[in-house]
Amino acid sequence: MKWPRQRFPLTTKFTWVDAIIALLVFALLYALVTLGSGMDVHFSDVDQPVIHLDWWLLPYYAGRSLLRMFIAFFFSLLFTFVYARFAAIHRRAEKIMIPLLDILQSVPVLGFLSVTVTAFMGLFPHRLLGLELASIFAIFTGQVWNMTFSLYYSITNLPRELQDAAAISRLDSYSRFTHLELPYAAIGLVWNSMMSFGGGWFFLAASESISVLNHHIQLPGIGSYMATAMQQGNIPALLEAMSTMVVMIVVVDQLFWRPLVVWAQRFKLDTHADDPIESWFLKFLHRSRLALWISEHIFGSMLRAIDSTVVNFVKSSRHKQTHSSITPHSSAWKPWLSRGVALLGILLVFYYGFQGTVEIAKLGWPQIFHVIILGVFTLTRVMSSTVLALLWTVPVGVAIGLHPRASRITQPLVQIAASFPANMVFPLVTLVYLELHVNFQIGSLFLMMLGTQWYILFNVIAGAQAIPSDLKEATRVLGLRGWERWRRLLLPALFPYIVTGCITASGGAWNASIIAELVTWKQQTLVATGLGAYITQVTTLGDWPAIVLSIVVMAAFVTTVNRIVWRPLQKVAEKRFRII
C-alpha cells in the first residue's frame, strides 16, 4: 500500500464526533495501561490471584481477557507474515514448511497447555507473567495456523502478470510484500483472521484457569470468573459472565472486525459489487477530523518513513552493486548459513525425537495400546457429533439460506454463536446432566457438538445462498419436489460447503474433547472414556510420558482422519460438485 497524504475536508471546527473520538482514544490508552500493569505481578503458591465474583468487576476481567486476545492476535499476524511469506518465496523451504504447518495445526492445542505453562513458568518464576504468556500462547496456537495458510495460498496464487509487473519495476522484497502480496491477500486474510479470532475465545476460556502439576492456577479474566462461579455453584454469576461474553463478542465485532472487513473491500480485484457491506463505526471515524489526523500524522507518517528508508537503502545498495565489479561477499556465506541452520534443525529434531521416544517407551506396550483404544472412543464421538450436527443444521440452514430475510436476521446470530466459547456453557449443561442422571459417555458428545455445529450451519447457509436462481427455477419448472429436490439440487449444490463445514467442525471437536470428556460441577466430576479425558487427567497429575504419548496419538488420529476422510471428500467436492 501506498500511504498518500489525504486532503482534509475544508471545515476547521471540531465537532461532537471528534470529542467522542478523543474520549475513545484516551479511554483506550488508560485501559491499556491499567490492564497491562496487572499482567506482571508477583505470585507464589500462597499468594495467588483471587477471583472475586462481584458483578462490577466483570468489565475489568473482560478487559484483561480482551487484552490477551489482541496480544495473541498481534503475534499470530506477525508469525503469519514471516512464515507464510518465507514458505511462499523459498521453494526448498516450502517443501518442509507447509507439511509441518499441516501437522502443527492438527496438534491439540489444549493438550500441550500443560507443557507450555510449565515452560513459561520456568522462564518467569514467581511472576504471573509466565502464566499470562502461556495463556496468550494457547490462544496464539489456536488461531495462527489458519491465518498462515490463508496468506500462503494467496501469495502463491498471485496472477503471473502482476508478478511480472512487480519484477519489471524491480520492487525489493519489502515493497513487493506491502504493495503487492499483502494487498492481494488482504480480503482473505481479514476474513480468516476474524474467524480465527472468534475461535480464539474458546482457547482463552480454557487457558485462563488450569490445573497443572497438581496446582490449580487462575489468571484474572472472564474465563477464570466462569471457573470460579462453577466451583462455587454460583448460577447468577455464571449467567452474568455469559452475558458479558456475548457483549464482548458483539462489541469487538462492531468496533474492530466490521470496520476492518469494510476497509479491506478496497483490495478487491474486480469491480462487480455484490451486497456492499457497511460499518457504522467506520463511517463514524470517517466523519472525524481527529481520526483522520491520527491516521495521517501518526500511522501514515510512520509507514511513509519506513517506506522511504527502505527505498533509500535499496537505492544505495543497488548503486554499490553497479559501481563495484566484485560480487558481493554475502553470496559466498549465504548457502553455508542456510545449510548450517538446516543441519542444526535436523540435529534438534533427532535429539528431541529420540528423547520423546525414550519417554514413551517407559510406558510399555499395554499402555500405548490402551491410549490408542481411547483414541478410537474419542474418534467415534467426534464423528458422531459431526453427523448429529449435520442432521439438524442441513435442513435448518437450507430453510434460512433460501429466504433472504431470514438469513439477514439469523446470520449475525449464528456468527455470535460460533464465536461464543462453548466451554462457558458446559457448567450449565453439566448441571442438567447431574440432575437428570444422563449417561455421560453419550452426554459428552453433545458437549462437543455445542461449539462445533455452528461452523456447519454457517457453511450450509452460505451454500444455500450461493445456489444460482436459474437452477432453483429449473428445479421448479421440472416439478422436482420433496426428496427429488434434495437429491437433484440441494445436496449436490451444498456438498462442497458441507464438507468445508465438517472439516472445521471435526477439527474443533478434537480440541473440544479435551475439556468435554471431563467436566466438574462443585465437587462432582463426570468422566467419559476417551483420549480427551485421559489428556486432562495426566495433565493434572503431571505424568510427562503419558502427556507426550497422548498428544502424539491425538495428532496422529487427526492427521490420519484428515488424509483418509476429509481430503478425498474435498477433492470430490471440488471436481464434481463445483457450480461453475
Binding site: 501506498k2 502478470e161 509487473a165 519489471i168 519495476s169 515493497s175 478496497r266
Partner: protein, 437 residues
C-alpha cells in the same frame, strides 16, 4: 545505428525427468537497433511471450545470451519496461500511485517524481483521472495507465505483450493511433519498441519490422522489413500485399508437419492436434460449404470476426484431416470435406472416424489398445503417459482432452470422466452402464 539489444542463440527448453525435452524456443538470434519498432508475430503457443520475457530478464533462457548495450544481462533488464495484455495494474493503487511505482527507485526528490508522473498521465490522455482506481476505468483507460507506468521510467526499450488484444475494436484502434503518434513524433525518449502480437494487420500498421516465429519449437522463419510510410492506409494495395505475404508465411509454416515416420522410436510419431473441439470443426466446415468455392483466409477471418489466432488452429485441423486445403492464402473444401458438410449426423460420425483412423496414429493406437483388453477399458493416465513422452507434461493434458473430444464425437471410444477411463461401448447395447473402475 547501434545495437540496443542483441539476442544470441537463445534456446528455451522445459525438461523434467522421464520426458522428452520440450523445446519452446530454438536458436533465436535477434538484433534490435535504435529507432526500430519491431513486431514479433506467431501462432499462439509459439513462445512469443516467452521470448519477450527473456528480453525483459524475467525468464532466463536455457542457453544463449541477451545483451543490452553490449552488456550481458543477469537479472531484470535495466533498460526496459513493459506493457501487459491484462494491464497488470495494482487495483489498490490509484492511477497516480500506479504510475509513480515506475519511478520508485529513481534518484529524484519526491516533488519531481510527482511532477513527472502527472506529466506522463497527461501525455497518455488521463488528465483528471489521477485519483481514480483502476476498477473505475474502462479497459482502454486502464491500458493507458499501463502505458503511463511503463513510459514514466523513460526506458530505452518499451516491451509490449499483446497490448491491444484485451480491448474492443474501436478502443484498440484509438490507443494504437495515440501510441504511434507519441512514437513517431518523438514525444517519448524511448529508443525502440518491441511488440508481441498475433494480429498481422496490427503489426503491419504499426511496426517497421515483423519478426515471424514458427511453432513447436519457435524459430525465426521470416524477418520482414516494412518500409511503408506512416500513416498507413489499411486499404491500400501495398499494405494488403504485406499482410497477405505474412499470412502465407504463417499458414505455409504449418504445412511442414514432420512426416509420420520416426526412425528412433520405430513406430509412427505422435502428431500434435490443434486445440479445436469437434463442434467448432464441423461448424467451420459447414460455413465453408455455404460460402463460395474458394475463400481468402484473411477476408474470411475478417468476415466472421475471428482473430488469426482463433482461425488458424481450425484451418490446421481441417488440413490435418484432409477436409480442406489451403493454397496461396485461399482455403477450399476437398471432396471429402464437401461430402462431410452435406452428410447426416450419423454419416458424419462415420466419415470422421475413418479420417481419424487413417490420418492420426494415436487414434488407431487407442482403439487397438482398447480392443486388445478383455474388459475393453483403459485408464486415461495410460494414454496421458504416451502423449507426455512426446509433447511434455505441460501440453499433454490439453492434447488428450482434444483426442478424447474427437474420439467421443466419432464414437471411436467412450470416456467416463468420474473414473477417468477410456472404454469401448458394447456393440449391441451402446447405453450400457460404465462399470466401476
Amino acid at each position: 545505428m547501434t545495437d540496443l539489444l542483441e539476442l544470441k542463440q537463445i534456446n528455451q527448453r522445459y525438461d523434467s525427468p522421464g520426458e522428452h525435452k520440450v523445446t519452446v524456443l530454438k536458436d533465436i538470434d535477434l538484433r534490435i537497433t535504435t529507432g526500430e519498432f519491431v513486431a514479433i508475430l506467431g501462432p499462439s503457443g509459439s513462445g512469443k511471450s516467452t521470448l519477450l520475457r527473456i528480453i525483459a530478464g524475467l525468464i532466463h533462457p536455457t542457453t544463449g545470451t541477451v545483451k543490452f548495450l553490449d552488456h550481458p544481462i543477469l537479472g531484470t533488464n535495466p533498460g526496459v519496461s513493459m506493457v501487459f495484455q491484462s494491464f497488470a495494474l495494482f487495483p489498490w493503487l490509484t492511477v497516480l500511485q500506479n504510475v509513480e511505482l515506475g519511478l520508485r527507485y529513481k534518484d529524484f526528490p519526491n516533488p519531481e517524481k510527482r511532477r513527472r508522473a502527472l506529466a506522463v498521465i497527461d501525455m497518455v490522455g488521463l488528465d483528471g483521472f489521477e485519483g481514480a482506481y483502476p476498477k473505475e476505468l474502462s479497459g482502454g483507460m486502464r491500458q493507458r495507465v499501463g502505458l503511463g507506468r511503463a513510459l514514466v521510467a523513460e526506458p530505452d526499450i518499451l516491451l509490449m505483450d499483446e497490448p491491444f488484444s484485451a480491448l474492443d475494436v474501436l478502443t484498440a484502434e484509438n490507443l494504437r493511433r495515440d501510441l504511434l503518434e507519441l512514437w513517431l513524433e518523438h514525444k517519448i525518449p524511448t529508443k525502440s519498441i518491441v511488440m508481441v502480437t498475433h494480429g498481422i494487420e496490427e503489426a503491419v500498421y504499426m511496426a517497421d519490422r515483423a519478426v515471424v516465429l514458427s511453432r513447436d519449437p519457435a524459430t525465426v522463419i521470416a524477418d520482414i522489413h516494412i518500409g511503408l510510410p506512416h500513416w498507413r492506409d489499411r486499404k491500400e494495395e501495398s499494405f494488403t500485399h504485406v499482410v497477405d505475404r505474412i499470412y502465407m508465411i504463417l499458414t505455409h509454416s504449418r504445412d511442414i508437419q514432420p512426416e509420420a515416420e520416426d526412425t528412433a522410436t520405430g513406430g509412427r510419431k505422435y502428431i500434435p492436434l490443434p486445440q479445436v473441439p469437434s463442434g467448432a470443426l464441423t461448424g467451420f466446415l459447414e460455413l465453408l460449404d455455404d460460402l463460395a468455392v474458394k475463400s481468402d483466409l484473411y477476408k474470411l477471418a475478417d468476415q466472421i470476426m475471428f482473430e488469426l489466432d482463433d482461425l488458424l488452429p481450425i484451418v490446421e485441423a481441417c488440413g490435418l484431416l484432409e477436409f480442406a486445403e489451403v493454397s496461396q492464402g485461399d482455403i477450399s473444401l476437398t471432396p471429402i470435406g464437401k461430402q462431410f458438410a452435406s452428410a447426416t449426423l450419423l454419416e458424419r460420425k462415420e466419415l470422421f472416424r475413418a479420417r481419424l483412423l487413417e490420418r492420426i496414429p494415436i487414434f488407431e493406437r487407442i482403439r487397438w489398445v482398447l480392443d486388445s483388453k478383455r474388459n475393453r477399458r483403459m485408464p486415461r493416465e495410460f494414454f496421458l503417459e504416451v502423449i507426455r513422452k512426446n509433447v511434455g507434461s505441460e501440453a499433454a493434458d490439453a492434447q488428450l482432452d482434444i483426442v478424447i473430444d474427437w474420439g467421443r464425437y466419432s464414437e471411436l471410444f467412450a470416456y467416463d470422466e468420474s473414473s477417468r477411463v477410456l472404454y469401448l461401448e458394447e456393440e449391441d447395447g451402446p447405453f450400457a452402464e460404465p462399470a466401476a473402475p
